[in-house]
Every structure is written in structure tokens, then in C-alpha cells.
């Protein structure tokens, strides 16, 4: 027995002592990422964070393509009478095109989670504004509020009923969260604070307007003198986004005023011929906001699905749309015959997405003025004719102008750029046989969200 004790003593001595120093070897810090406490200390740190907000906003789930093609696929009657034809194999867009969206559609879930990721980044920037150098504070704050406002606006109109469909103050949109997630303390994401119910459409629009208005004013001081800074929000981007919000709410006078702010700045110019606008990989003089795509970062998902250079044309264009163009219309040069007729608007694989263009502002100002019976910045017919002149179309007479003609011009000018569904809804126009307020034209609340948050109510029809 004594021997055993000796052996045990000897063993412990030989084994434990030399290993004692090893404990510290377990302190291994990651090198692929930065610890949160070292990431967000300086003004430059917060600006890098803000820039990530733009990257997320420009990701494929959002303005990198999905917000646009979802609006156009969902706004298309589908089938031979439709203007578009989905011929690809991805089932998620196929469901959207056929208005038979499943609640587990991963594209629908991706848009939701990415939009909120952008919002969280914006919230984090806003909570760390004090770290930003004084001269840049307003610009950084403006950028963050633009991102947040734009995202709430998009979430509200995709996941909630349209503003003019029933009562916005009782219709549900999406939850509003204005505080950042604390990465050092998980209690926030695990507790009930993260299980918010849906706010009303009115609440979310109000939040979007509040953010975008703040962005517009905060960014005024750093207003660009040339259009090339459209990679991030400027005061004009905020104005342009506000004009979209007001148009959706049918507040035509305000829509015209906001669009006019962009036009009357005088720094944006239409690109002629129009094909040059879309052949340009970089930000053009016409652009108010561009999603930045480089070979190394970012994906142009409009290219992926529309272009012969992407997946070869998962979405082709059908005759009913082509028939709407005047044969002289220069915009007919934006099509090619490949896998059926395809749009060439997005043929640049690594080209920026021209997300907000000056011609939209002319069309919005024209419609806003026309319907509000105002002439902010100019006569509606002149604005329409500016857009027409660029594409080689003869001017219209003021007496010929009607709402349908303005909407038609808008449809042809902005085709495939993500406007159609929203324009139909606000004008209570049907999508094929579906009325404008059909539940099938509203995205479902993603199943994954409902699974983790019982306070979320699913949309009707799902």
C-alpha cells in the first residue's frame, strides 16, 4: 500500500506540475474578426459601421435586386397575358411570380432579416454618435437615419397592406425597434424585448418619414456639388426616398415638393442616350443613389435574374410590355433577343445598380403636381416631356396629359426597377385577376420569425 502512495505522489508530481503553465495557452483570441470592445471606439470605426449599413442595404436581399424584382414579379399578372415571364428554376421567385408564396420562402425571410440587420446597424451608429468627430456627426447621423427610414418604408409596403387599403392606423406592418442590440450582453436578444408585436402601417410610415426627414436635414450641410457621391445617402437621396413615401401615401403635393428638391438642386442630369445610363458600371450624373458593385464585393442580383450575362434570363419580357412602347422609343434599345426577349438594363455583371434616377424624380414631380393641381418646380407636362425627349419621343401637349398617361410613362421608364407593384397598389389597379388589395400581393411574415416570436401575427391568406 505504501508503494501505491509513493506511486501516486510521484505520478501527481510528474504530471500536474509541468502542465500548470499550460492553462494560459487556452486564452486564444480570434484573428479573423475584431473583438467588439476594440471595434467601435473611434470616429472612423463608427463610419466603417455606417458603411456596412450601406453594404447591407445594397445586398441581394434588398436594393441589390430583390426589392426590385419582387415588386415587378408580384406586380405581374403572370402567364401569357403578363409582361414578364419567369422561366428560371429558383422556386422562391417562381412562388412570388405565381402569387403562391409559402411562408418558408427563404427569399422572403432574407429580405426581412437583412432589412433589420441594416436597421440594427443604423441604430448602433446612432447610439455611438458621440464618438464621431464633430464635423462629421451630422453626416453620419443623416446616413444612419436614411438607412433606417428607407428600410422601414420598404418593410411596411412589402409586409403590410397598402397605405390606401383600409385603415393604416389599424392595419399591421412590422415591429419598430429603435435601439441597438448590445453584443456584449445577450439578455436583450433573448428576452421579451426582442419579441415585439407588429406596429401599424401608420406607425411604421411615421417612423420612416421621421427618419428620412431628419436625414434630409442632417445631410444638408454636406450636400454634394456633383452627383458622383451617390454611393451613400445625400440630402437628395433622402428627398427622393421621401418622395416615394409620400407618393405611396397619395400625398401628391409633398411628393412633388420632395422630388423637386432633387431636380432643382441642378446637379443631376439625364444620361443620353438612355442606354449609356445602364451600360455604365459606375455612378452616373443621373443617379441619386447607386448600389455599389465591384468584382470583389457585392452582387447585382438584377443581372443574375434578368440578364443574358447573369443566369441567362430567368425573367424574360413578353409581348404585352413590348407592345406598349412607341416604335420610335429609344428604350426599345434596352432589349435583346436571347432566351426570349430580355432586358439589357442590367447587363453589367459588376455594374452598380442605379437605384434612384433623376427621371423617376421628374415622373414623381409630374404626377404629384398633376394630381395635387400644383406646379412646384414646373408644369407636369414639361417634366413628362423631359423624360420623353431623352428617349426620342415627341412631346405631349398639356391638354393630352392624364393620370393614366403619366403612370404609363412611369411604367415604361422604370420597368424592371421595382416600382410596378407599388404603383398598381396605390392606384388601386388590379394585378391580372387579383384586386390591388389581394392578400396574395403581400408578403407573408417569414415562418422563422413567427417561430421565434409568438407575438407576430401572420398576414391574412397565409
Amino acid at each position: 500500500m505504501k508503494k501505491i502512495i509513493h506511486v501516486v505522489a510521484l505520478g501527481s508530481a510528474l504530471l500536474v506540475v509541468p502542465m500548470a503553465g499550460c492553462n494560459s495557452r487556452l486564452d486564444i483570441q480570434p484573428v479573423n474578426t475584431a473583438p467588439a470592445d476594440k471595434a467601435l471606439n473611434t470616429s472612423a470605426d463608427v463610419q466603417s459601421l455606417l458603411r456596412a449599413g450601406y453594404a447591407v442595404v445594397g445586398s441581394v436581399d434588398l436594393y441589390g435586386g430583390r426589392l426590385q424584382y419582387t415588386a415587378d414579379l408580384l406586380g405581374d399578372p403572370a402567364g401569357p397575358s403578363g409582361e414578364l415571364f419567369w422561366q428560371g428554376t429558383y422556386s422562391q421567385p417562381n412562388e412570388i411570380y405565381n402569387k403562391r408564396i409559402t411562408t418558408t420562402n427563404t427569399f422572403v425571410a432574407g429580405t426581412w432579416t437583412q432589412a433589420y440587420q441594416a436597421i440594427n446597424i443604423a441604430n448602433t451608429v446612432l447610439a455611438n454618435l458621440s464618438k464621431v468627430s464633430a464635423v462629421q456627426q451630422a453626416q453620419v447621423e443623416g446616413g444612419a437615419r436614411f438607412i433606417r427610414g428607407a428600410m422601414y418604408f420598404e418593410l411596411a409596403r412589402f409586409y403590410g397592406r397598402d397605405w390606401n387599403d383600409g385603415s393604416p392606423s389599424t392595419n399591421l406592418a412590422v415591429p419598430i425597434l429603435l435601439t441597438p442590440t448590445n453584443v456584449q450582453d445577450p439578455s436583450g436578444v433573448l428576452g421579451d424585448a426582442a419579441k415585439l408585436p407588429r406596429n401599424t402601417v401608420a406607425d411604421v410610415y411615421a417612423q420612416a418619414i421621421s427618419d428620412l426627414t431628419a436625414a434630409e436635414s442632417k445631410l444638408k450641410a454636406s450636400a454634394p456639388s456633383s452627383p458622383t457621391s451617390s454611393d451613400v445617402a445625400t440630402t437628395y437621396t433622402a428627398s427622393g426616398m421621401l418622395s416615394r413615401v409620400y407618393l405611396q401615401q397619395q400625398r401628391y403635393d409633398l411628393a412633388a415638393v420632395e422630388a423637386d428638391k432633387v431636380i432643382s438642386s441642378g446637379i443631376f442630369r439625364l444620361t443620353t442616350p438612355i442606354a449609356d445610363e445602364f451600360n455604365s458600371k459606375i455612378n452616373t450624373n443621373e443617379d441619386i443613389f447607386d448600389v455599389q458593385i465591384t468584382v470583389q464585393a457585392g452582387v447585382n442580383d438584377l443581372n443574375t435574374f434578368y440578364s443574358t450575362n447573369g443566369r441567362g434570363g430567368d425573367i424574360s419580357v413578353q409581348q404585352p410590355l413590348l407592345d406598349m412602347f412607341d416604335p420610335a422609343d429609344d428604350r426599345l434599345n434596352l432589349f435583346n433577343q436571347d432566351n426570349g426577349v430580355l432586358t439589357t438594363k442590367f447587363d453589367q455583371v459588376y455594374g452598380n445598380i442605379h437605384e434612384m434616377r433623376l427621371s423617376e424624380m421628374y415622373l414623381t414631380r409630374a404626377e404629384g403636381n398633376f394630381r395635387a393641381n400644383t406646379t412646384v418646380g414646373g408644369l407636369p407636362v414639361d417634366d413628362i416631356n423631359i423624360v420623353r425627349a431623352r428617349v426620342n419621343l415627341p412631346p405631349l401637349a398639356a391638354t393630352d396629359l392624364t393620370v393614366p398617361i403619366i403612370l404609363q410613362e412611369r411604367h415604361l421608364e422604370l420597368a424592371f426597377e421595382g416600382f410596378y407593384l407599388h404603383d398598381l397598389k396605390r392606384n388601386k389597379l388590379p394585378v391580372g385577376t387579383l384586386p390591388y388589395n389581394s392578400p396574395r400581393l403581400i408578403l407573408p411574415i417569414p415562418q422563422r420569425e413567427i417561430d421565434v416570436n409568438a407575438n407576430l401575427v401572420q398576414n391574412a391568406g397565409y
Binding site: L15, T89, N94
Partner: protein, 1039 residues
């Protein structure tokens, strides 16, 4: 600190002196070696001086040294052997050969940090010997042991070479972590991380040559595996390689050659049926939408123009002139396999060696998919002094795998089945492969054929993965005192991998039309070093007691560094590397590191050779968690009933050993290295740097803990002619390290935390019968196992994977969960789904199958229900070995039962053109055509998506029985060989997967779509390649 250490070292030396000196003073020193009848050393045999407690145990080599009084008598015993008594006389050296008493039980079994005889085991360990592993024409040993170990489920995901193999020992314990067992080669845990860059995981174990393996022990219960602590929850597979035996140098030369073909194929429409069904589906769509079939803008007209285009712009499709079987085009028939090996082994009393070299080249069943391995092994043992043994185990290998894209790529070979059978392989307009060239543009065709033609990838993509692997360890074992050995091992595992990928210009439709050739080059250096230092103590406690104690420490550090660069715009296909790319489209580097510090121990105690007790445990400290240290203990007892007097005097029962074990193990594998820390990650937007929050801190994160209880019984009848084991177990895993879903509004989607429990329980059965002894021998070994997995708690979460797999409370992991398909509406041919029923109980919502609720054609209003289980309910195998005068036939049937397989490609290829013009499976010919038709196949409606959504429509039974391996061999009699100076010669014919019996309607039921395979996403088929059916002829010559 250093000072103190040296002081302690002196103390240690002093102690050993004090222990040793008294023995030298009064006695006679003797030494020797105890071996079994095969000549191999018997570890742990006891040598006692008769009538005293003076004795010693043999070391791992069977050697012993100790001192006895003059004229003593030695009693040499080992469990399972007949005890011998030898008078010492004046002899100083004893080489004793013990005869086995009951063969099976005497077998030495490799366990964690040691070996034990089978009879002494109180844990559950499955063993597989070299005979089952060597010379099977497969690339990794796991494939060779499929169906041969009870409770060990092995599945290779498909027929592409060198790809990952799923191994589950007693079920799945983790949702977010790794579920593969820990692999330990010659005492050193080895790298098993997938480093593949193409989305389809590879198998690092292909770097080992199965022919070098002597035996495999699979540690299944906690008693056997807890000594591996926080990495043992999924079982531990101990691999021991071959070692030299002293004696004349023996050379062995082996050669094997053969061919492989696909096991089975899925059946697709031929050209005539394709055209007819496309037309029918287009007519139906026009009718439903109220479009006249004659409308030039209608679907009928569209289909006709599309058919002409797919036919290559001609009318051949109308006559069925071209009928392409794309499956045949992509396959490589009678693909050659060749293997050469040469080994030398031998040595003397002091030094023994095993040297081997091996080369194998296997061609896959897909064109241009091949795998090549060159491998050498050097194992050396050297006795430096009577007390010190040194050794080396070294594996050097190079593998080259020419790979195919993952299952989800248009470039993967099997996606060619989507192409139309009316499309010619060679476009008559160009004389080149269809899709290669469009005369109108001078560029690769963008619209013809239907999709990118994967055959272009087979000929124009090079995806070469090269791995250099050095896996080895050196050890020293020193006999410190009588019965006390100290062993130190230092192991190094270095894995260098490069991936060289280049897609040529003709792949434009798959890689991008403006890209002009693309490529990437990756390098990865995965390294791991391990030190094990431990004592083995076998005190002599008299004839009734035996004890072995193992105690030690280990430290292990792994580090993975990887770089990649990718480029586009090549001048031509003559250039292969990124240095020729005009645009560098991406580059990255990454590094990760983790460390594990451990203390482990085990005590085995046997009283009177009847009552067995094992206690073991390990303390692990892991850098992967914030809550670092954990203790993993285990205890087990066994009772050798047949050693009791009341069972001694009978001949029927030869062994009866009930045993029980309980213990805890952990899992720390498969999680990110720093999942518990709050991190930011970097990116770019328009060429300017960005950073964003990437993870949320968790100060309490720790390993998953599994408590396993096992009760088993080992039995033998009729002197071992019938023997076997039965085990029943339960594994309860708590505190899953779960990548839990967060509400998306937080800006995050997932968070690692210890939430959730999982349970596995099962039954294992092993039976070996020696049916005939004598000139004709026949042995049958049967094993069967059932494992029932259940996720018992996920904090209310549902985690999705695969297509319709999910982890949800109350169900097995990965259950198929979707709408239940109800066939075609006899009235109108609509796809119908059972509505089924949703039950809301407070906040929990569950669904049940209830057909009384009727059917609906609105997919969204049908409730999602549990449709099937990807985990097999039963697995097993039967191996028969028959021998007569040198001829031996060995064949193994393997069976998998009770699982389902989901065809993710069903929504494209089995939907009556509802999702496009992809060629359809032949079952679509049973489609609904007119009111009153009763069928499971809805009406074919071009593009209308009738029944395309995920549902039980694409789920089938996955049960199969397969003749896994068959070997017919002839061993030449020595009398014939003598004159040729050949000591042994064996000629053998081997077959793998020769027969498969299944109701699966796809290709091969052993399938797991590579790009989507995971813990939850399993049991899926997605254009996956079938397994290989291989025949080889081999010869082994020894001299």
C-alpha cells in the same frame, strides 16, 4: 518555477531508487516475454512467484523483468489463457507462450491509452480486424467496415470520390456541433476537418491507407470513451496500424485491378415520351388559362418552338430521331481502379519495423472524376535498454482528387439529367458539344441546350485538390519500477491542401458570360500537435486481485491557416493558373486556433477473475468555451458468471458476462473557435472598408454533456461456437451548444447558447456462430442495432435544414416536415394536400395527421406535418466466411431500415413540366389525364406549378439491403510455393456493392446530397451521384 520543477524531479529519482534497491539486495533477477499463440506479446499478463504476492505484469509488448527468491516457481497467467507454472531454476530468461482458453475472450482490445483483453472489458467496444479492412477496393476504411460494427452507422453521401462520409456511433448527439466520432490513430487524435472549397465536403481520412490498419476499436459507451472526455460523445474510433514482429524479414507484394460502374440509375423519359408530355402539358396550361391552343402567344405554340430549339433548331424531335440518355453521357463505364502495395516487416529482439508503400488510382463513375493516393508508412519499435522502449509511427501521403462540382451546381455532372432527351450530344449545326458554341455570336451558347451542359464542365473544368499529409508520433516508454511504466507520446499531424480550380471559356454559361474563364487557388495548412504523458501501473496484489491504473495528461493544439485567391479574364484555356488572370476577383486569408488541456485516468480492478470494475475520467479545458473546464467520469462493473463454481461444471455455457456502465462525455467539436465572444467582422462596400457586428457574447458557453448508461451481456455457448453480445443503452445529452434562432428584428439571426437536450436510446445485438469447423469452415457474424433519437428540448425552437428537414422538440433530429401530398384530384387533376390538423395549446402549436379534415389544392392551407425520418430505425449486417482447402468466400450483406429519402430535385424533375422543361422521371407517365383518373401524379401543366411545392410527394422509403463486400480468395498451399521462394500467395476477387435491394425510386438509397448535408439536413437526394459498384482481381505474394 523552473527551480521548483527540478527539485521535484530529483525527488522523483530518489523515490525510484528507494523502491528499487531492496529488491536487488536479496534476489535473483529474471526477465522474459509472454506471448500468445500468434507470437504477439501479451500485455497485462501476470507473473507471480508462487505462494507469495511478489509478482509483476507484462508491459505493452508482453515483456517483464523482476526478481524472485532462488528456487522459486513462476505462475504465469492472463485472463483468457491457460495458466502455466514454470520452476525458475538457474534460468534468467523466460519466453513463455500461453495457450488461449477461449479464443474470442483472449483477444487484446485496444482501449484509450492502453490495451485490455476482451474478457476484462466492462465497456462496450466494437472491434474490426485487418482482414475486414485490408484489400477492399474502397478509398477509406469506413467504407470497408459498413455493416460490420453494431451501432455504427456509416453512409457515404454519393458516388463522387473522396467525399465526406457520415459516421454515427449510437446516434446523433448534437444539433449545431460535430456528430462524427473522434478518430485516434496510434494514440494521437487526428485532423478530420473538411477543407473543401467547392461546397461539397471531403474526407480527410482518405489520407490513410486502409491496408496499413491492424485493427480498429470503436468505443461506444461512456465507460470505454470517457477517458477522451469532451470529445467522446459521438464515440471514439481507435485505429492501430501494423507493427513489425521479430523474425526474418517478410516482404509482401500486392496488386489489385478492377472496374467500377454506377450501382443504379434513376429513370427518365425518352425523346418520344418527352415530346408527347411537353405538348400535353402545354395544351393543359392553355386550356386552364382559357387560351386557344392555336394562339401564337399561347403555351402550346411556345412549347412547340421551344422543342424545336431544344432539338438543335431542327425537326428531329418530331420523329424521335435523337434520343439522348444524358445519364449515360456523363458516366464513365468500367472505370479502372489499380492498386499496388509493397511492405516489409520484421526485426530482432531489439528493433522491429514495418515499412509499407502503397499507390492507388481509382477512376470514378463520372467522367474525369478520379482519385490518386501515394502513401508510405514507417513504424519502428526499438528496445534501447531493458527498461526503455522507443518508437515511431509515421504516415506520409499525397492524395490528388480531381473533383466534380457540388450537387447544387449546374456544372455537376448529374444535373445533365435535366437536359432534354431530344437535345443531341453534338450540335449538328456546329459539330461541337451542344452549348459549346453559338455560330450567331461566336460565343458559348446562352440559350441552348435547356441549361448549361455539364458535360462542358467535365471537359473544361479542372478542380484538383492535392493534400500532403504527415501524420506521426514518437513515443518512449520507460519501466520506472516494478509494474510502473511511464509513456510519453508526441504526435504531429500536418495537412497541407491546395485546390487548383480553373473553368475554361466554354463554361461561360455556368461561370458568367463576361468572365472569360475563372479560377481559384486555395492553400490550407491544418496542423495539430498532441502530447500525451501517462503512467501505467500494474501492481502485483496476489493471485486473486489484479489492478491496472492509468493516469496522465495531454495537451493538444490545432491551428488552421488558409489563403485563397480567385481570378477572371484569361487569355485562353491554355492558361491554367491565376497568374494569367487579368482581374483578381477575390482574395482572403484566415486563421483559427484552439487548444485542449487534459488530465485523464482509469483504474481497472478484477477480483478473482470474476468481478470487474473500471473507473475512468478526464478533465478537459477547452479554449472554445467561456466556461472552460469540465470533468467527465465513468464507472462500470462486470461479472464473469462462468468463472463461478456453480457454472464451472457444465459444457453448454462457456461465457456469461453481464456488465453495466454509466458515465459522462462531452462534445466540443464543430463549433466556431470563438462562438462565445462578441465580435465584429469586416467587409467592403464600393472599395471602402466596412465593419459590422457579427456575434453576441456568451459568458457561460460550455460543451455539450452526454450521460450514457449501458447494460450489456457477453455470452458464449458450446466452447465459443456461438458467441455474442447484447447491449441496451441510453444517451441523454444536455446543454446542447445550439446555434439558436433569434428574432430577425435584433439584426442577428442566430446565437450560440447551451439550450436543449437530446436523447438516443438503442439496442445492439451481435452474434457470431462457427457453423462448421474442420476442413470446411463456416463462420457467420450477425449484427443489428436500433437507435431511436429524439430531440427532447430546444427551448421551443424549430431549426430548419435541408429542404424540409427540421429539428423540433419531440421528434428525431432532421425529421421531414412539410405538407402531406394527397395525390391528384380525380375531378380536375389538381395536386391535393391533406389539410391535417393544427393543435394550439397555449403558445405551442403542433400538427397531427388527420385525414378526416379532407384535402385541399391550396398548399398554404394544408398544415405541415411530420412525414418521415431520415435516421434509420435499424441498421445491421451479416458476414459469412466459408473456407475449404485454401478457398475462402467472404461476403457481407448490409441493411438500413426505416428511413426516408427526400428528393430535393423532385420539384424540377417529377412535376409534369410544372416548373419548366427539365426532363421528367418516368413516373410522370402516370399523370392524371381525364376526370375519373385515380393517380398520385397530378395533371401535367407546363409552368403552372401543379404540385411542385415541397411535400411528401417527393419522399420515398430509403430502406435497403445490399451485398456490400464479397471476396472470393484462394491461398496457395506452401508446397507449391516453396520452389519459387514464395512464402505465401493469395489470389482474390473482390466486389463492392454488387447487389442492392431497395424500393427507393431514385438512383442509390445510400445518399446525402453533399451541398446541403448537415446534422439536420440529411437523407436528401439532389442530382447526387450513385455509389460505385466495383469488381477487382487481386494478388498478394509474400517472400
Amino acid at each position: 518555477m523552473k527551480m521548483k520543477f527540478f527539485t521535484r524531479c530529483k525527488l522523483v529519482l530518489l523515490l525510484s531508487w528507494l523502491l528499487a534497491i531492496p529488491a536487488w539486495a536479496q534476489t535473483q533477477a529474471i526477465s522474459g516475454r509472454v506471448s500468445g499463440s500468434d507470437g504477439g506479446g501479451l500485455p497485462g499478463a501476470t507473473i507471480l512467484e508462487q505462494g507469495t504476492t511478489n509478482g509483476v505484469s507484462t508491459n505493452s509488448d508482453g515483456a517483464f523483468t523482476f526478481s524472485v527468491k532462488p528456487n522459486a516457481t513462476l505462475v504465469i497467467s492472463s485472463v483468457g489463457y491457460i495458466t502455466q507454472t514454470i520452476p525458475v531454476g538457474s534460468r534468467a530468461t523466460f519466453n513463455v507462450t500461453l495457450t488461449a482458453s477461449a479464443t474470442e475472450l483472449a483477444e487484446a482490445v485496444v482501449v484509450g491509452y492502453g490495451t485490455q483483453t476482451k474478457q476484462d472489458l466492462t465497456g462496450s467496444i466494437a472491434t474490426v480486424g485487418s482482414k475486414e479492412i485490408n484489400n477492399v477496393p474502397v478509398l477509406t476504411f469506413e467504407q470497408a467496415i459498413q455493416g460490420k460494427a453494431a451501432g455504427v452507422f456509416i453512409e457515404s453521401g454519393g458516388g463522387k470520390l473522396g467525399q465526406a462520409t457520415k459516421v454515427r456511433v449510437r446516434g446523433t448527439t448534437s444539433v449545431s456541433g460535430d456528430n462524427q466520432p473522434l478518430y485516434v490513430v496510434d494514440g494521437i487524435p487526428v485532423i478530420n476537418d473538411d477543407l473543401s472549397g467547392n461546397g461539397a465536403p471531403t474526407n480527410p481520412l482518405t489520407d490513410l491507407n486502409p491496408n496499413d490498419i491492424e485493427n480498429i476499436s470503436i468505443l461506444k459507451d461512456a465507460s470505454a470513451s470517457a477517458i477522451y472526455g469532451s470529445r467522446a460523445s459521438n464515440g471514439v474510433i481507435l485505429i492501430t496500424t501494423k507493427r513489425g514482429k521479430s523474425g526474418a524479414t517478410h516482404f509482401e507484394l500486392g496488386y489489385q485491378t478492377g472496374v467500377s460502374d454506377p450501382t443504379r440509375n434513376r429513370k427518365f423519359l425518352n425523346a418520344t415520351d418527352y415530346v408527347a408530355l411537353v405538348r400535353e402539358s402545354a395544351n393543359n396550361t392553355d386550356d386552364i388559362l382559357g387560351i386557344p391552343r392555336t394562339d401564337p402567344n399561347g403555351y402550346t405554340a411556345y412549347a412547340e418552338s421551344k422543342l424545336q430549339s431544344l432539338s438543335g433548331g431542327n425537326d428531329d424531335y418530331k420523329t424521335g430521331l435523337v434520343n439522348t440518355d444524358w445519364q449515360k453521357e456523363l458516366q464513365q463505364r468500367r472505370a479502372a481502379t489499380n492498386q499496388y502495395s509493397l511492405s516489409a516487416s520484421g526485426g530482432d529482439e531489439k528493433t522491429r519495423f514495418y515499412l509499407a508503400g502503397n499507390y492507388i488510382k481509382q477512376n470514378g463513375i463520372i467522367r474525369n472524376n478520379n482519385f490518386e493516393r501515394i502513401n508510405t508508412r514507417i513504424n519502428i519499435d526499438h528496445k534501447a535498454t531493458t527498461k526503455l522502449v522507443l518508437g515511431l509511427n509515421l504516415n506520409l501521403s499525397r492524395t490528388l482528387n480531381n473533383r466534380i462540382d457540388n450537387d447544387n451546381s449546374f456544372g455537376t455532372a448529374y444535373q445533365a439529367v435535366a437536359l432534354s432527351p431530344i437535345t443531341p450530344v453534338i450540335d449538328p449545326r456546329t459539330g461541337l458539344a451542344s452549348g459549346a458554341f453559338n455560330p450567331a455570336t461566336g460565343l458559348p451558347n446562352t440559350t441552348f441546350p435547356l441549361y448549361y451542359n455539364p458535360l462542358l464542365s467535365l471537359d473544361n473544368v479542372r478542380n484538383a485538390t492535392t493534400v500532403y499529409r504527415t501524420l506521426g508520433n514518437v513515443y518512449a516508454a520507460y519501466d520506472l519500477a516494478k509494474g510502473l511504466t511511464f509513456r510519453s507520446e508526441l504526435g504531429i499531424d500536418l495537412l497541407f491542401q491546395t485546390e487548383d480550380y480553373k473553368a475554361g471559356l466554354l463554361t461561360a454559361r455556368n461561370t458568367g458570360f463576361t468572365v472569360n474563364g475563372s479560377g481559384y487557388n486555395t492553400t490550407a495548412r491544418n496542423t495539430r500537435f498532441t502530447t500525451n504523458n501517462y503512467f501505467t501501473y500494474r501492481p502485483t496484489l496476489g493471485e486473486k486481485n489484479s489492478l491496472e491504473v492509468v493516469a496522465g495528461t495531454a495537451y493538444e493544439e490545432r491551428r488552421l491557416d488558409a489563403n485563397s485567391v480567385s481570378g477572371q479574364q484569361f487569355p485562353s484555356d491554355a492558361y491554367r493558373l491565376i497568374n494569367a488572370a487579368a482581374v483578381i476577383s477575390g482574395g482572403s486569408s484566415s486563421s483559427s486556433r484552439s487548444a485542449l488541456l487534459s488530465y485523464f485516468g482509469r483504474a481497472n480492478y478484477a477480483f478473482d477473475n470474476k468481478y470487474l470494475l473500471t473507473l475512468s475520467g478526464r478533465v478537459d479545458g477547452s479554449s472554445r468555451f467561456s466556461n472552460r473546464y469540465g470533468f467527465f467520469p465513468a464507472a462500470s462493473v462486470g461479472w464473469l458468471l462462468t468463472e463461478e463454481n456453480f457454472l464451472k461444471n457444465q459444457k453448454i455455457l462457456s461465457t456469461l458476462k453481464p456488465r453495466v456502465s454509466i458515465g459522462q462525455t462531452g462534445n466540443q467539436q464543430g463549433f466556431p473557435d470563438n462562438a462565445y465572444t462578441a465580435q465584429y467582422s469586416a467587409g467592403a462596400y464600393g472599395g471602402i472598408a466596412t465593419q459590422r457586428p457579427a456575434s453576441i457574447a456568451n459568458d457561460n458557453l460550455k460543451w455539450e454533456t452526454t450521460t450514457q448508461t449501458d447494460a450489456g451481456i457477453d455470452f458464449g455457448f458450446l466452447d465459443g461456437r456461438i458467441s455474442g453480445e447484447v447491449d441496451v443503452y441510453q444517451k441523454k445529452t444536455k446543454g446542447l451548444v445550439l446555434n439558436t434562432n433569434l428574432p430577425g428584428i435584433t439584426g442577428f439571426t442566430t446565437y450560440f447558447q447551451n439550450v436543449g437536450d437530446m436523447e438516443n436510446k438503442g439496442l445492439e445485438f451481435l452474434l457470431t456462430t462457427r457453423n462448421a469447423l474442420g476442413a470446411f469452415t463456416w463462420t457467420t457474424s450477425f449484427n443489428a442495432a436500433t437507435n431511436i433519437n429524439k430531440v427532447t428540448n430546444l427551448g421551443g425552437q424549430v431549426i430548419n435544414g435541408g429542404y424540409i428537414n427540421r429539428a423540433v422538440e419531440g421528434q428525431p433530429i432532421g425529421v421531414f416536415y412539410a405538407q402531406e401530398f394527397a395525390g391528384a384530384d380525380p375531378m380536375n387533376g389538381d395536386a391535393l394536400y391533406w389539410k391535417n390538423r393544427t393543435i394550439t395549446d397555449g403558445s405551442t402549436v403542433t400538427t397531427v395527421i388527420d385525414h378526416s379534415t379532407g384535402t385541399t389544392n391550396d398548399y398554404n392551407t394544408a398544415a405541415r406535418v411530420v412525414l418521415g425520418n431520415p435516421n434509420p430505425r435499424w441498421t445491421g449486417g451479416v458476414t459469412n466466411t466459408l473456407g475449404y482447402k485454401g478457398i475462402e468466400l467472404n461476403f457481407t450483406f448490409q441493411g438500413v431500415f426505416g428511413n426516408s429519402i427526400y428528393n430535393g430535385a423532385g420539384q424540377y424533375e417529377s412535376v409534369g413540366f410544372g416548373n419548366g422543361l427539365d426532363n421528367q422521371t418516368t413516373d410522370q407517365l402516370d399523370r392524371w389525364q381525364k376526370p375519373g383518373d385515380i393517380t398520385n401524379v397530378p395533371q401535367a401543366r407546363l409552368f403552372l406549378g401543379n404540385g411542385i411545392s415541397n411535400s411528401s410527394r417527393f419522399l420515398s422509403h430509403g430502406d435497403y439491403v445490399r451485398l456490400k463486400t464479397t471476396t472470393l480468395s484462394y491461398t496457395f498451399p506452401t508446397s507449391l510455393l516453396g520452389p519459387a521462394h514464395i512464402s505465401n500467395a493469395r489470389l482474390f476477387l473482390t466486389g463492392v456493392n454488387l447487389l442492392t435491394f431497395t424500393k427507393y425510386n431514385g438512383a442509390d438509397p445510400e445518399v446525402n446530397a453533399d451541398y446541403i448535408a448537415g446534422n439536420i439536413g440529411q437523407g436528401n437526394d439532389f442530382y447526387s451521384a450513385p455509389q460505385l459498384r466495383t469488381y477487382t482481381l487481386g494478388v498478394i505474394l509474400g517472400f
